[in-house]
């Protein structure tokens, strides 16, 4: 058994390169997704019916079709419309466009979650409409949506695995190749699983740290598992 793990050790560099590529794509696609999400959320809330319609079509088209299909459409479909992309760019675009639609919903809900009383208090104090939005609504909405945004970032990371279907040498694609060469299924995929766990763990941790520093008061992103005890003792009540 150990001989087989040692063989895989020879592929260490490939794994690291693949992980790095995965991270790059994740971050680039995420930036695109944030931009698209914000623009779409603003469009959804605009008074122009056309903008609202476009936003709606975009969101529904993305959310009701599989991301794998969207990747294929970008990579295989665009060339017949005259746009040829390499796998890397196609991957970033497809994933960015996909997650952007989900982020749009997140942003919209976040803005709506700010209580009306906040708007009333701000306007009575004399703040104008755009000031109310920037100084009062946005900071509170941002804080409200932060956990959901982090979740979507992790989903994006996991979504990069599908880019192996367009022959991109990210983590899953590399694993498949190594698997085909060594036929060490269990070992290869175990290492791949661990790699993804490490990547998602690190991203979550960094996001958590940013959360505590950027927001006032500090936003703590802990997911404490709460054990629901059937109440046995009165003293258990905290």
């Amino acid at each position: 058994m150990s001989y087989e793990w040692l063989t895989l050790a020879g592929y260490w560099n490939d794994f690291v390169r693949a992980a790095w590529l995965t991270l790059q794509i994740t971050l680039l696609a995420f930036i695109l997704a944030m931009l698209l999400g914000l623009l779409t959320a603003l469009a959804s809330a605009s008074r122009a019916g056309l903008l609202r319609a476009i936003a709606s079509v975009y969101i529904e088209a993305i959310r009701n079709t599989p991301v794998l299909l969207q990747i294929f459409i970008v990579f295989f479909g665009l060339p017949s419309l005259g746009i040829t992309l390499n796998a890397y760019t196609a991957g970033v675009i497809a994933l960015g466009v996909n997650v952007g639609a989900y982020l749009a919903e997140v942003f919209r809900a976040g803005i709506q979650s700010v209580p009306r009383g906040q708007l009333e208090a701000a306007s009575i104090l004399g703040l104008g409409r755009s000031q109310v939005f920037v100084e009062v609504v946005l900071p509170q909405a941002a804080r409200a949506v932060y956990p959901a945004i982090v979740n979507n970032l992790i989903q994006l990371l996991l979504g990069t695995s599908l880019l192996s279907a367009i022959a991109l040498p990210e983590l899953s694609g590399t694993a498949t190749v190594i698997n085909a060469r060594t036929l060490l299924y269990i070992q290869t995929f175990t290492i791949t699983l661990i790699a993804y766990l490490v990547l998602s763990g690190v991203l979550s941790w960094v996001a958590g740290e940013i959360g505590t520093r950027v927001f006032h008061p500090p936003l703590v992103l802990k997911k404490r598992p709460r054990r629901l005890l059937f109440i046995a003792r009165q003293t258990d009540r905290t």
């Binding site: 459409i73 995929f189 998602s200 054990r227």
Partner: protein, 216 residues
């Protein structure tokens, strides 16, 4: 695109769609059972099972379903057994979505006010009775929209099983494009088919999801 091509393509795609729906149905059942079990163990389980349940959900929510599928499909043959793609797909999707479904059930269980448990205990109900007669009915309304939402994700995720060779809708589309080209038209058709299945569900979820807070 000629109507001939359209007709033949549609015929093949519809076949694929049927396979997709079968796979979805089986995985929905599997995923719900696993998710329910995991959620119950997490909240009420004895000695160490809550931790196992938690590790399970964190494992499958932090890794891509593709790798899980490959693990199952190739890994099984490593041990000398054969497994067909459909079974691998069902197991893989059930286990993967089960982790997310478990979280949906868990927040449903935790949404039941603490007072309900206390009242049940004082009235003399056992844990099981309290769960089924008091808690479950109350979680129903809260849990349904996100649950249907997960089912929706599951249906879309069946497309990933095409990558280990199952001929469902996505795979059927790829096969046609490999033969005749025209990716925009064919994949567009595939998209329409997925849309027709998913849209009613997503509209239902959107309609019923008013109450849920952003951070539940």
């Amino acid at each position: 695109m000629s109507s001939e091509l359209l007709m033949t393509s549609l015929a093949i795609l519809i076949q694929g769609l049927v396979a997709t729906l079968l796979l979805s149905a089986a995985s929905i059942v599997g995923g719900t059972l696993i998710g329910l079990l995991a959620a119950v163990l997490r909240s009420f389980g004895p000695w160490g099972t809550p931790r196992i349940a938690r590790l399970y959900t964190e494992l499958f929510r932090g890794t891509p379903v593709l790798i899980t599928l490959m693990f199952i499909y190739f890994g099984v043959s490593y041990f000398g057994y054969a497994i067909d793609v459909f079974a691998a797909g069902v197991v893989g999707l059930s286990v993967y979505q089960g982790a997310y479904i478990a979280e949906v059930f868990r927040s449903g269980i935790e949404a039941v006010p603490k007072g309900q448990w206390e009242v049940s205990q004082i009235l003399g109900l056992s844990k099981t009775q309290a769960f089924f007669s008091v808690a479950l009915p109350q979680t129903g309304k809260i849990v349904m929209p996100p649950l249907i939402g997960q089912y929706l994700s599951l249906i879309k995720d069946t497309s990933i099983v095409s990558m280990i060779g199952m001929s469902e809708l996505m795979h059927a589309g790829q096969a046609i494009v490999d033969r005749v080209g025209k990716p925009v038209e064919i994949y567009g058709l595939v998209a329409v088919l997925y849309f027709v299945v998913c849209f009613p569900l997503s509209q239902w979820v959107r309609h019923h999801d008013r109450r849920r807070s952003l951070l539940s």
